[in-house]
């Protein structure tokens, strides 16, 4: 088998946060990503889902070495990424890019579309001269569906969907092998969402891109991913091929998440018996002992409070972190 594009092994990221004030001032450790491992192959899409605060964005940033990993290892085509200096990272940055949730906020308002899209080339591929750069920018703009006469416009002159296209063009301009998409469509209107999803899928197929697609919308993740990872309080509770995880979710949290998604079908929606989870995600500063999901879990037992379940391989590429799933 070929070397995976990306290998993530027991990755941990924690942040020091201050709690209290005045005399009660203290700092505590917040474990945002708490031991995550996965592989990603060339041209593959891994969907990452979870509720707010589960660490999915931190995971994305740690994979790209944008936040320092506390421990664990990220390997890019067999080469260790974590701990590299910014200078040593530079050649790798050409191959891994990111697009963000808020399309307008992630573009510099004082730069034109052309300047924004050309910036990665200037920074990471200075050997390319201005003429070639302009041609390259024109190519990617056409590729993502922007008009050639829009090069000199500023971000505020574009709609949200078009801004997201500029963000995608900026990520594509260096011909990367991996694009991390951090909630790329959640700020967009329904009719625009579909355009961007189709664009990402076309690009992936044509350019053999690998995508890490982070979202809280399970419908979108099902549509675009080949494999899906479900996160809860910094840990992966289930990783499985797309069809397996949606047809037969194993972890109780995955089951609850999928059950909670309303279907755009009034008759089926009325006949469905939802058993929504009680409670909300606990603060990551104060996670429950053992299995972090146990205080909301319908099948929790005494063992769950003392023993943290590890991700086990169940066959068929399904990995689950629960004591009671066979």
């Amino acid at each position: 088998m070929t070397t995976p594009l990306l290998q993530v092994n027991d990755l941990r990221v924690s942040f020091c946060v201050s709690t209290g004030s005045g005399l009660g001032y203290a700092t505590r450790n917040l474990k945002a990503v708490d031991g995550i491992s996965f592989d990603l192959h060339v041209g593959e899409t891994l969907g990452v889902v979870g509720e707010s605060g589960c660490g999915k964005s931190t995971l994305a940033r740690a994979v790209l070495n944008l936040v320092p990993a506390g421990s664990g290892r990220v390997m890019w085509l067999g080469q260790a990424v974590s701990g590299l200096t910014e200078a040593a990272m530079r050649p790798l940055r050409k191959q891994m890019q990111i697009i963000f949730q808020d399309p307008l906020a992630s573009l510099d308002p004082r730069m034109t579309a052309e300047q924004i899209i050309a910036e990665p080339l200037k920074a990471l591929a200075p050997e390319i001269d201005a003429t070639q750069r302009r041609r390259r920018v024109a190519d990617v703009m056409a590729r993502v569906g922007l008009q050639a006469d829009q090069v000199h416009r500023y971000p505020h002159e574009f709609s949200g969907g078009q801004c997201q296209r500029i963000g995608i063009a900026r990520a594509l301009v260096l011909n990367p092998k991996l694009i991390v998409c951090d909630e790329p469509v959640s700020a967009l209107d329904v009719s625009i969402q579909a355009q961007i999803i189709n664009l990402l899928q076309d690009l992936q197929r044509d350019l053999d891109l690998a995508l890490i697609f982070i979202a809280h919308d399970l419908n979108v993740v099902r549509h675009i991913s080949q494999r899906v990872m479900v996160m809860y309080l910094g840990r992966a509770v289930e990783i499985a091929p797309r069809d397996a995880i949606y047809a037969q979710p194993r972890h109780p949290y995955t089951r609850a998440l999928i059950d909670a998604v309303p279907l755009p079908d009034p008759q089926r929606e009325r006949s469905r018996s939802h058993t929504p989870l009680t409670g909300e995600v606990p603060s990551p500063l104060d996670p429950p002992s053992g299995c972090a999901f146990r205080n909301r879990c319908p099948i929790a037992a005494a063992r769950c409070a003392t023993e943290t379940p590890v991700l086990r391989m169940l066959g068929g590429g399904v990995q689950v972190a629960c004591h009671f799933v066979e």
Binding site: E51, S52, S159, G161, Q162, D189, V190, S191, I192, Q193, A194, Q195, I197, N198, Q201, H216, L218, N219, V220, R222, H223, I224, R242, D243, Y246, A256, L257, I258, D259, A260, V261, P262, L263, P264, D265, P266, Q267, R268, E269, R270, H274, P276, L277, T278, E280, V281
Partner: protein, 323 residues
């Protein structure tokens, strides 16, 4: 048939801006009966929020509403502020998208909840507190005796939305307006909130206007829906018929462009080309025609009026039948 609880007729909302007068809502008409849930669906800028804000006299200072909105025999758009204050929070109440910014961070939950009871029902402090406690318990907040004296920042997002719902229901309103009540919530908490609203509605027979862009939430909660585009209602009808057989090209486009858990995987999403028009650049005639696959000459000439198709269903489209 009894008269509807609220009858909105040709409601328009204009804003005076530096670019001239802009029309956010353009002659919207709908009615809602007791105990009914009406979903208003549309993309950002379609005018769905401004429609309900206009009903309650909550437009920003440069906004102006015209038309009629008869609620329990009185025109809300024509009421002096003193009378409107008697309606707002008592007969009609509203919950907003972001529960954090719509609660006052400086006041305890008890103060915020009893205020409305003191104002509208002239209850004394202990009676108001007792009723507030009861309502907090009804929306599923555990240990309400302890929670009621806490401040908004001590509640999680989902719990804050429950507090908002409890506050809105305190005076037992005839009509509850919910503007994107679940959009800011996580999916498991959204499911809890939707379940709670459904439960409260069956118990209390409150009419609800639910504004959302989430077609799944609409499917689960609403009896009827109205789809808005560029300030107008383009289609309205019972929820089942609208989902199974949309008659307006935009409604169909919306329904087919969302990925769904029950779809066959591997298929491309249908898309609506282009973007919704900016409020300053709406095309003449039908505002949807630039994006519509079926547009023909008549669409550019005059905007199609909302006309009854069959009983209970109406659409604003020059096409007789959607191919």
């Amino acid at each position: 048939m009894t008269a509807p609880l609220l009858n909105v007729d040709a409601l328009s909302v204009h804003f005076a801006t530096a670019d001239g007068e802009l029309c956010a809502v353009d002659g919207v008409s709908f009615a809602i009966s007791k105990g009914e849930t009406l979903g208003i669906v549309g993309e950002s800028g379609s005018g769905k929020s401004q429609t309900v804000l206009a009903l309650l006299g909550l437009l920003s200072a440069n906004g102006r509403a015209s038309g009629r909105a008869v609620f329990n025999g009185r025109d809300l758009l024509d009421l002096p502020i003193r009378d409107l204050n008697q309606v707002r929070g008592k007969e009609v109440s509203m919950i907003f998208q972001d529960p954090m910014t719509s609660l006052n961070p400086y006041l305890s939950i008890a103060t915020q909840m009893t205020e409305v009871l003191a104002l509208h029902q002239r209850l004394g402090r202990s009676a108001a507190r007792a009723q507030a406690l009861q309502m907090l318990a009804a929306v599923g907040i555990a240990a309400p005796e302890r929670r009621i004296d806490q401040y908004p920042h001590e509640f999680s997002g989902g719990m804050r939305q429950r507090v908002m719902i409890a506050m809105a229901l305190l005076c037992d309103p005839h009509l509850l307006i919910a503007d994107e009540p679940t959009t800011a919530l996580d999916v498991t908490v959204q499911a809890q909130t939707v379940g709670l609203m459904r439960e409260l509605q069956t118990q209390r027979d409150t009419a609800i206007i639910l504004i959302t862009h989430d077609l799944g939430v609409v499917a689960g909660l609403c009896d009827r829906i109205a789809v808005m585009y560029a300030g107008r209602i383009v289609e309205t009808g019972p929820v089942d018929a609208m989902f199974s057989d949309p008659q307006h090209p935009y409604t169909r486009g919306l329904l087919t462009s969302v990925p769904r858990l029950d779809e066959i995987t591997g298929e491309r999403l249908a898309t609506i080309p282009g973007n919704p028009p900016a409020i300053t650049q709406r095309p003449r005639g039908c505002a949807y025609r630039d994006r519509c696959a079926y547009a023909f000459a008549a669409c550019a000439e005059h905007p199609p009026p909302l006309q009854t198709v069959i009983n209970g269903r109406a659409k604003a489209c020059h096409l007789e039948v959607l191919p």
